[in-house]
Every structure is written in C-alpha cells, then in structure tokens.
Subunit: 724 residues, 2 copies
C-alpha cells in the first residue's frame, strides 16, 4: 500500500502545483480596462456555455446512473459518478484558468516574448497537472479505498468493476465535452471568418465582427475544456484498464498482484514529478525559438522519466529480474485466453511469464512511441517540412489544388504513426504479452501532464492575440502573440495524435478484457472470434462505420452552426450600420448565445451513437444468429472502430494542422504573402481543416473508448449485475 500512498502523494503534488501556479498567474497584471472588458465578455460567454453544456450532460449522466444502479450495483454507480464529475471538473477548471490567463498573456507580451510564453505556458501547465493529478488521484483513491479500507483483494471483481465504471463516467462526459466544445469553437471560428474576412473584408479578431467574442469563447470551451476532459478520460481509461487487465489476466498471490497493480499508479506519479520539473525548463534560448523552448520542457520530462520509471519499477516490484506470476498469454493456435485471472483461475498458467525488467522495457517502448508521435506530428504540421510546404505551394494554383494536396497529406499522415504503433504492439507483446502492451500504453499516458500543458497553452495564446487585436495594442504585441500561436497548431495536433495512438494500444488491452470477462461470465458459451466467422466481419464493418458516421455528423454540425452565425452577423450588420463604422458596439452576447444553443443541440445524437451502437449490434445479431454470434460481432465491432478510427482521426487532425500552418507559412511572406491569391486558397484550406482537426477528428478518441467500455458494461449487465 505504501506504493499507492506515494502515487496519491504525487497526485496531490500535481494539484498543489496547480493551486500554486494559479496564484502566480492571477497575481500578474491583467492589462488596461479595455482589455479587461474584452476578457470579461469572453469569460462570461465561456461560463455560460460550459454551464449549459454541463447541465445537459448532467441529464444524460443522471439517466445513465439510474440505469446503472439496478443493473450493475452501487459500486459501479459511484465509480461512474466520480469519473463523470472529475472529468467535468478538469474541463471546467482548465477553462477558468484559460479565460484569466489570456488577457494576462496579452499584457505580458507587451513586455517581451518570454513574458508571454511564460504566462501562456504556465496556464497550460496548470490544466496539464490537474488532468494528470485528478486522474491519478481518482484511480489510486478508489483502489486504496477498496483494498485498504473495504478489504477486497486487489484482483477482486469489485476493483475491476469500480475502475471500469470510473472510466465510463470519464468517457461519457468527455465525448460530449469534446464534441460540443468542438462544434462551438469551429462554428464560431468558421462563421466569423466567412462573414468577417471573406464577406465584410475586415481582419481576424476585428472588434466590429459580432462573432469575434464567440470565436474567442470557443478556444476556451473547445480547445481547452473539451481537450482537458478528453485527456482526463484517456488517462483514466489507460491507467485504470491496465490495472483491470492485470487483475483479470495475471495469476499471482495477492501481495504480488497488489504490487504489480500499483506499478501503473506509481509510474503515473513519478512522471507527474518529471512533468513538473519539465515545466520549469520552458525558456527561450538564444535563437528565440518558441518550439525549441517548449521542446526543452518536453524532452526534460521524457528523459527524466527513464530513470524515474526504472526506480519506480524497482521499488514497486523489488527484484526486477524475478519472474512475475503468469501472465495472460495467448495460446498460439487457440482463440481464447488460456489463463484466467485471479478470479477465475480455472486453467493452468500458459505462455511465457515476464520479469519486471520486461515491463521496464515495455514502458520504454511507450516513451519511444510518444517521442516518435511528437516528431511525426511536427513533421506533418510544422512549417519547416515538405507536407506543409507542399500545401502552401499547391495554394498558388488555387483553392482546388490546395484542398487536393491537403487531403493527400491527410491520407499520407496516417502511415508513419500506424507503423510506429504496429512496431510497439509487436515489441511489447513479445516482451510481456498483453500486459506488456498495457504497460507501454501506461508509460505513453504517464507523460500526459506535460503533453496537455503544451496543448492547453495554444488556446491561451490564440485568445491573447484576439484580445491584443481587439484592444488595439501595438503591432509588436500582436506579432509576439502570433508567433506564440503558430506553435500552438503543432502542439494541438501532437496531443490528438498522442490520444488516438494510445487508443490503438489500449484497444488490444480492452479486447483482452472483453474476452476474459466473456469467459468469466459465460463459461459455457464458445465464442468464435476468428476472421472466418462472418459475424466477425459484420462486426468489423459496423465498427469501422462508426468513425465515418460520427465524422459526418460532426462536419455537418459545424457547417450548419456556422451558417447560423453567418446569418446572425449579417442581420446585425444590416440592422445597425454603426457597427461597421465602428461607432456602435455589436451584440456579442447574441452570437455567443446562438452558437451555444446550436452546439448543445448538435452534440447529443452523435454522442449517443457510440453508447447505443454496441447494444444495438449485440441484440440484433443475437436475435438473428444467437448469443455467441452476438458477442462475436460485438467484440469485432470494438476492433473495427479502432481499425478505422485510427486512420480517420490521424488523417483529420494532422491534415487539419497542416492546412492551418500552410496558411501561416504563406502569411509569413511566402508565395505572395497575406492578401495574395495563394493566401485566399490557403484560407479555404484552413476553413476545411478547422472542423477536421478540432471537431470530428479529436472526438474519435473518446468515441472509441466509450464503445469499448459500453461493451464491457453490457457483458457485466447481461451476466446479471455487478459484484456489489
């Protein structure tokens, strides 16, 4: 239990870091009255939206809780509520910091680039540490309560169900938050651009544009709050499900099992410390490279994680070279696991057992995947490399060629991440089976604090630029905030690639949990997961359809909501010519309100798609071909959704980032610069990339998770309720 206490202490440290740094940020000067007025409008809009979003989600949450209680018991319901509430808290607090740091970043950028960078990054780091800290605290706290207080064994069914329900709560909130926030931010952004830049010919963030406050609100509720909820979910699902799969698959005495299950917690804990250390390394060097400064922080965190994980593993497991239990290896040739977990323990231990050192290497693979994904994303979305340059060059021949080249890059950008993930799966599986894959995913996610910090920095700088423009600060301030913002496109793309990459690793682990649960709950049922079973193909195809359908909903929603923004702005311009003349103030709140209602309305049906689809597929196939085939199709669906979702998500997020930076590359004076025909084409590409990268693409990650978790819960419910 000492190990668990250490993890909880690290989680507490992250929260303390958040409080301490928040005080630092809030103490900084918030600029002149004009800037504060603008910031207040953004704050007000963001709070109003998030409040309404959470009230809507709460209704869904309460309904789900009411269904969970009789079917899966009190423990699962409590786990669900904790996951849901904390996911909401992570998003809300992130937004609260972000809407205060934006104006302070603009003010700090008056002084120096370093000042703006420090302010924006600190604000991001608060969100990052809260995501990791709250996530780790929830998992460790529940585990501690059940094992140390309630007296359950570490591998008991209660632990498995509580952790699964925690993950479900986090996932359910995050899909609504990601999608709702994503629709809000891009509807406002696209709408503001269309009616402002294109129709009225006024620059971005011009205070005469009635949609300008909505656009800035969007950065906070989508790119900050939505992203934070999403990464909270990813963190909880990955680390929690690693523990669940240990409980299900590893055959070991309780004391040894406890130490193994505590290992992901302590790895998460020590990486919080290396992340905090990393945040202090974010400083501009001689070259004034902002990306370089951020990378200094990231690399410090990642490199320090190597010895930290080594010591954590040694301490948790004792002798790293001792063989640990018997892991759930797959019998080559069979199609079901030959080892039951501590619960089942019917079959003898099969396959190669592993050592602590094997797990250490698996975690190194996880760190390696993180580094590789960061590098690949930088390559595909950075202005210094072929992909972005090729889109910029294609813009010279028009809108069409810009979009064609952008789509080509979108498609291409899936290749390297897929190869990295494939190599990681093979290598970690060879070392320690499914448990090895789970530990690779855990190490990947352990760096979440730093990765989220880099991402949450983006919307703050974006807002700071908007405030600088609206408050008519001197040009050099806007140049500084623009420079800070350009880097944000890449860091935002990094997080999304990272989240979906972890989903691909986690998919195998989740499927392992599914098959093990199936054996446990339905020991007499033989389910054929072979590819020669047509119901498996049916499941794969239906699973593969989900990201497409979901993407279609997301894109359509943005288009429709952006249309309402355009109409409202046109109406405001027509009703009051003083707006364009600069003599009267537009009704910012009215536009915010329209986007709010549209986003809330549009998020509901697509978010329910991954919740209801697994249930529908199971029941329909069961009705046609019996229960065993129902479970086969459902299991295949879980893998179909990742097999297609990985590609849909990466192509959308990398492609969108590349389009955005191709526009910035042209604005930097290439191919004719701002105002040229090439620039107009690049603005089109950027508009297309917006819902790709910030609405449909990132929401695929929670969608995949929720499909998987609903399947696990369905199994438990069909087996006649939970353990509690």
């Amino acid at each position: 239990m000492t190990i668990v206490y250490l993890a909880m202490a690290c989680a507490a440290l992250a929260v303390l870091y958040g409080i301490f740094t928040s005080m630092q940020v809030l103490r900084a000067p918030a600029g002149d009255t004009r800037m504060q007025d603008i910031a207040a409008a953004i704050q007000e809009g963001a709070k109003a939206y998030l409040g309404r979003q959470y009230r809507t989600i709460a209704i869904v949450g309460v309904i789900v809780a009411i269904i969970l209680f009789p079917t899966l018991g009190a423990l699962s319901t409590v786990g669900f509520v904790i996951g849901a509430v904390l996911s909401g808290v992570a998003g809300y607090v992130g937004m609260e910091i972000s809407v205060r740091a934006n104006v302070r970043t603009a003010e700090a950028a008056r002084g120096s680039l370093q000042g703006g960078l420090t302010m924006a990054f600190r604000s991001g780091a608060i969100t990052g540490m809260l995501v990791a800290g709250l996530g780790l605290f929830a998992i460790a706290g529940i585990f501690w309560y059940l094992v140390a207080i309630a007296g359950h064994g570490p591998g008991d069914r209660e632990v498995v169900e509580a952790l699964t329900a925690l993950a479900f709560g986090a996932s359910l909130i995050s899909i609504f938050a990601r999608l709702g926030g994503g629709i809000f931010t891009k509807a406002a952004d696209v709408g503001a651009d269309l009616v402002g830049k294109v129709e009225a010919g006024i620059p971005e963030d011009d205070p005469r544009n009635p949609a300008v406050i909505a656009d800035n609100v969007g950065d906070n509720v989508g790119d900050c709050a939505g992203m934070a909820a999403d990464l909270f979910e990813t963190y909880v699902v990955t680390i929690g499900l690693t523990m669940v799969s240990i409980a299900l698959l590893v055959q070991a005495p309780p004391a040894e099992l406890l130490r193994l299950m505590a290992l992901p917690l302590v790895v998460g804990g020590v990486c919080i410390i290396t992340s905090i250390l990393g945040t202090y390394m974010v400083r501009l060097g001689k070259g004034q490279s902002i990306m370089g400064a951020l990378y200094k922080g990231f690399w410090t965190t990642a490199l320090l994680a190597v010895p930290a994980i080594y010591f954590a593993a040694s301490w948790a497991l004792g002798d790293l070279n001792a063989v640990i239990g018997g892991a759930g290896f797959l019998d080559p040739g069979g199609d079901t696991l030959t080892v039951e977990g501590a619960m089942g323990a019917q079959a003898p231990v099969a396959g190669t057992a592993f050592t602590g050192m094997d797990l250490f290497w698996c975690m190194m693979i996880g760190l390696g995947v993180t580094a590789a994904l960061v590098w690949i994303t930088e390559y595909y979305t950075g202005t210094a490399y072929r992909p972005v340059k090729s889109i910029a060059r294609a813009s010279v021949t028009g809108h069409g060629t810009n979009v064609i080249q952008g789509l080509a890059i979108s498609l291409e950008s899936t290749a390297l991440p897929t190869l990295v993930i494939v190599v990681a799966v093979v290598a970690s599986y060879q070392l320690a089976g499914i448990i090895g894959v789970a530990f690779a995913a855990t190490a990947l996610l352990a760096l979440a604090g730093m990765v989220v910090a880099l991402d949450a920095y983006g919307p703050v700088t974006d807002n700071a630029g908007g405030i600088a423009e609206m408050a008519q600060l001197p040009d050099e301030v806007r140049h500084r905030t623009d420079a800070l913002d350009a880097v944000g496109n890449t860091t935002k793309a990094v997080t999304k690639g990272y989240a979906i990459g972890s989903a691909a690793l986690a998919a195998l682990v989740l499927f392992g949990a599914y098959t093990t649960d199936l054996r446990l709950f339905f020991p007499d049922l033989t389910v054929d997961f072979s590819l020669s079973n047509p119901y498996v193909i049916v499941g794969l195809l239906l699973g593969a359809l989900l990201p497409y359908l979901f993407g279609a909903f997301g894109m359509t929603a943005v288009g429709r909501a952006a249309g309402s923004v355009v109409e409202d702005v046109r109406a405001q311009f027509a009703a009051d010519p003083g707006i364009m003349a600069g003599t009267s103030r537009p009704q910012y709140g009215r536009t915010v309100d329209i986007v709010t209602r549209a986003a809330i309305r549009e998020m509901i049906i697509p978010s329910l798609l991954p919740v209801l689809s697994p249930v529908a597929v199971y029941y329909i196939v069961m009705w046609v071909a019996g229960q065993a085939q129902g479970f086969a199709a459902l299991g295949a669906m879980l893998l179909g959704v990742i097999v297609s979702g990985l590609f849909v998500a990466i192509s959308m997020t990398s492609g969108g980032g590349a389009w955005d930076n191709a526009k910035k590359y042209i604005e930097d004076g290439n191919h004719g610069g701002k105002g040229s025909e090439a620039h107009k084409a690049a603005v089109t590409g950027d508009t297309v990339g917006d819902p790709y990268k910030d609405t449909a693409g990132p929401a695929v990650n929670p969608m995949i998770k929720i499909t998987n978790i609903v399947a696990l819960l369905l199994l438990a419910a069909l087996a006649g309720g939970g353990a509690a």
Copy 2:
C-alpha cells in the same frame, strides 16, 4: 458440360452484339470536317497514351510471368497471360469505340436528344457487353478446356490454380489501367480547368485552351478504358473465385460438383441476354427524363434476371429442393473450416447443407444489393435529393463551406451501402454459408454488362459536349449534350459503388479460399485468426493503411501532374499570344504528351504497393514471430484492406459525384447560377472531387482484389509450386 456450352454461347452472343452494334455506330454520320478534325486529335492522343501505358504494363506483366513460371508452373502462367491480355483488350476496344462514338453523338444530338442518347448509350453498351462477354468467355473457356479436354475433375487443383491466375492477370492490368487512366484524366481535367476557367477566364472545352484535347483524351482512357479493365477484373475475380470456392469447400461427387461450378457461368450467361434485352429499352418517355430512360434499361435487365436466374438454376441443378453436397460451413466456436474441399476431404462434412433454392435466394439477395446500391448512389449523387442540394447551398457561403459539406456527405455516404452489405452477408450466409455469399456476389456481378453500359455512356457524352463546344455547334446541341452528361456523373458513381460493394462480398469468399488453401498446403501448421492474436491486429492495421497510402499517392500524383499541365499551358500562352486571340492553334499534342508521361510515371509505385505489401508483411512477421503468425498477419491484412477500403472508396466516389453534381445544380440556375460566387465555390468542390472520384477512389477496388490474390498465390508458391 452442356451448361458450360450454353454459357459460352451467351458470351459469344455478347461479342456478336458488340460487333453488330459497332457497325451500327460506325455507320452513323461523323459530322463536319471541323468536328472530325477534333475527334481525330482525341483519337490520336488516346491511342498514343494507351499504347504507351500497355507497353509499360507489358514489361511488368512479362516480369511477373517470368516469376510465375518457375514458382507456380505453366498452367498458372498461361491463365495469368490470358487474364492480362483480355483485360487489356476490354479496355482498348472500349476506348476505340468511345473515341468514334463521341463525334457521332455530337452529330446525332444536332437532330434530337433521343438521337444523342441512343448513340452514346449504344457505344456504352458495346463496352459493357464486351466486358461481360470476354470475361465469361475466358472463365468458361478455361474451365471447359481443363475439364472436357484435359480431363481434370472440376474440383481439381489445376482448375483452382488456373482460375486464380486468370483473376491475377486481370487484376494486375486493371490496377495499372485504373490508376494510370485516372491520373491522366484528372490531371488533364484539373489542369485545364485551373488554367482555363480560373486563370484565363475562358469557358470549359474552349478550343483556345491547349489542354482541352488532353482533357477529352482523359475521358476515353480513364473513365472508359480504365473503367472497363477494372470491371472486367471484378467480373472475372467474382465469378471465377465463386467457382474456386465451390471447388475448395463443397464436398460432392464430381458430376454434382460440375453442375454446381457451372451455375455461376450460366447465371452470367443468361444475364448477358437480359442485359442485351435491356439495352433496347433505353428510350426517352414523355417526360424526356434521361435518367428515366437509362433506368428503364437497367430495371428491365434486373427484373428479367429474376426468372432467368431461376430457370438457369433449375436447369443446371435439376431439382432445386434437393440438398447439395456439404458446404464448407464454419464450425461455430472453431476458427478453421471443418470441411475440406474435394481435394482435401479429410474432415467429415459439417454444418448445414443447402439446396438449389437456397442458392436462388442468395442470388436474389445479390440482385437486391445491386438495386439498393443503385438507389443509394442516385440519392447521394443526384441533383434531386438532400445531399447534393446541401452542398450547393453550402457553396453560397464560400469555398470552405462547400468543401466541408462535401466531406461530410462523403463520410455519411458510406453508411447505407455498409448496412446493405452487412445485411446481404448475414442473409446469404444464413442460407448457404460462404457459398451463399459467393453466389450473392455472382448475381451482383452478372448484371455487369448493363452497369458498364450505363457507365461507359458517360465519357462519350462528356466528349460529345467538348466536341460540340470546340466545333462551335449551335447552343441547343451543347444543351442536349450537357443534359446527357449530367446523368453520366450518377451512372459513373453507381459503377464504382457497385464494384466496391462486390469487393466487400468477395472479401469473405477470398478469405475462405485463403484459409482453406492454408489448411491444404500446411496441414501441420495451426494458424490463429482470432482477434485476440496481436498479429491479427497488426495485419488488420497494416491492411487498413493500404487504401490510405494508395489514396495519398493517387491524390498527390494528380496534383503534381495537373501542375505540369498548368505550367505547359501558361508557357504556350506566353510564347504565342495568337492562341488567346484565336488566330493560332495551340499545340494540343504537346500537352497530351506531358500528361501521358506524367501519368505513366506516377502509376507505377502505387500500383506495386498492393502487389508487394502482402509479401513484405508475411516475411517480416514470419521473421519476428514465426510462420504461423506470418500467415495470421497476412490473412488479417486481407480483411483489413477491405474493412478500410470499402469506406475510403465509397466516400471518395459518392462524395466526388455529389460535388460534381452540386456544381451542375448551380449551373442549372440555382443559388445564382453560372458565374456567381456560389458557382465559383462549387467549381472548387468539383476540382477536389475529381481525383477523389476518378483516380484514388475507384482504384481501391482492384487494389483490394490484387492484395487478396497475391496472398493466395504466395501461399501456393510457398507450398512449393503449383499442380502443373
């Protein structure tokens, strides 16, 4: 054998129909000298391109044949050569007719809409009947030779290998033809539009544009020759592999096996007759609806196919209610087939046997899928329905929203076809196992003659419009050809959805052949195809990557080749101002030559991707984890490529068609009509949709097939050569 003779007679009838109708077409007046001059330039360009393309493919073909001969034997080599040559012939003859019918259609459209329609449709019907006729003749001929002359049993290994090699030859040519032709047509089209419509401000098909002949050449070599080679491949693979799977999976005495294997042939035969009857029903009604006229032909063919298939099945099988052999059903719970084919026959017959009536119903499911796919494609690409209208409406707010809505429709358009395919797989599998799925695919493809006729009609009308414009025929002629052409967008999209839909059904059959071959060649090897095997996940992910990478190559190739067209045209305009003034003639041939070289160069690497990837995946995984896992990963790759390819292909082809028709819908006077801002945005969408629907999307179908067939051949080669 009488049944096989009947099939061969029907195939011969199709070829006779082709010759007879060709004579009709060629007898029609070919217009004035100016029109004939233009047509001659198009003919010359098309022949020059196709000649060079076939010479290049021939080199690859000879290399492959040289590899095949020592590894798989003479029989496979001969089968490969026949498939390759006939696929080439189908494309070449289609092009030869098309480049002659275009000018005759323009001339006939001077007289009446019906005249133009008849001429264009007859030309399409020639290509359609040749594709089906040559395909059926090749399969039936090889089968007849091996069984009736060489004295092999119908289920012997020789038959299996010769039919597989025939399919390989057809697939290899078709991927080059589809991709090379697709790059040519869209590079010329996009290049001509960019520099003509957008830069120089001259209308489409203006004779002053040096790229205008290349654009018209492209219709013939891409949309006609490439499409014909592709559908020839689809026909041969589907019907041939249905016979192969009967040979491998059905346990029956030789006489009964012969009758069952002849059934797909005779079904193909009678459907050629119903297709020919259908072609005579294509006539305008009172409403002058062109789509209505084409549908009359299609529905006649499809409805007559119902009794025709019933009588064919009764005649081939005798008593439709008698139980046929023992089919290769899957043992629920196991992961390998429990029935070996006539060759292996080690295990007892398992699963439910089926009757002729069951097969009849499976074929009705296949016809139902065709009808459903036609209707769904019409819905997604027709100007009368929500999807196209929504893209047109989104064009009002600009280029960006047009593309966003187009992408949303692309993503959404995958849903209904997937559900149709899933229902068809489940229903036909419930009726007669994998053999049932194979027969559903056979009936689907049996209508290929009519479907190809509808498709090949498109490029002829497109060319006719171009010739009318360039030869400055009266406006009403151009209006008539435009009306004929608009329908072509939908019929072209139909064929692509149809081809990829059949690929999805065939995938299960091909995978069945793969697992059966594996058992046959490596009886001591236990291969785990379960989803819990991580190498299966690895194979699925790598397979899913192929369509993305392939799509990226295709899109980039079009962008790059279109860029060279733009540069050439700019250079021609700059060198000779007389071109724009209309006093001197542009060097059309120079542009054709540039596009030719670019297309040939760009087609090679992507076409080799599906040929080499299966081999690479097998050897790499074998090296890491042993032969059994190598085969598991390879098998999973075959399904991964369809699970992702189905969505990539449908989204691209339907989305592209919708974009194109949204432009046409605006040109019909909606949202401001030609020249409005909405129209400009719609032109951008059309440009983006061009390589989507005509280059990358359709080439996914042969890519999927070739991956599968290479895997089958690899198995045979690893087992130490073929039977011959």
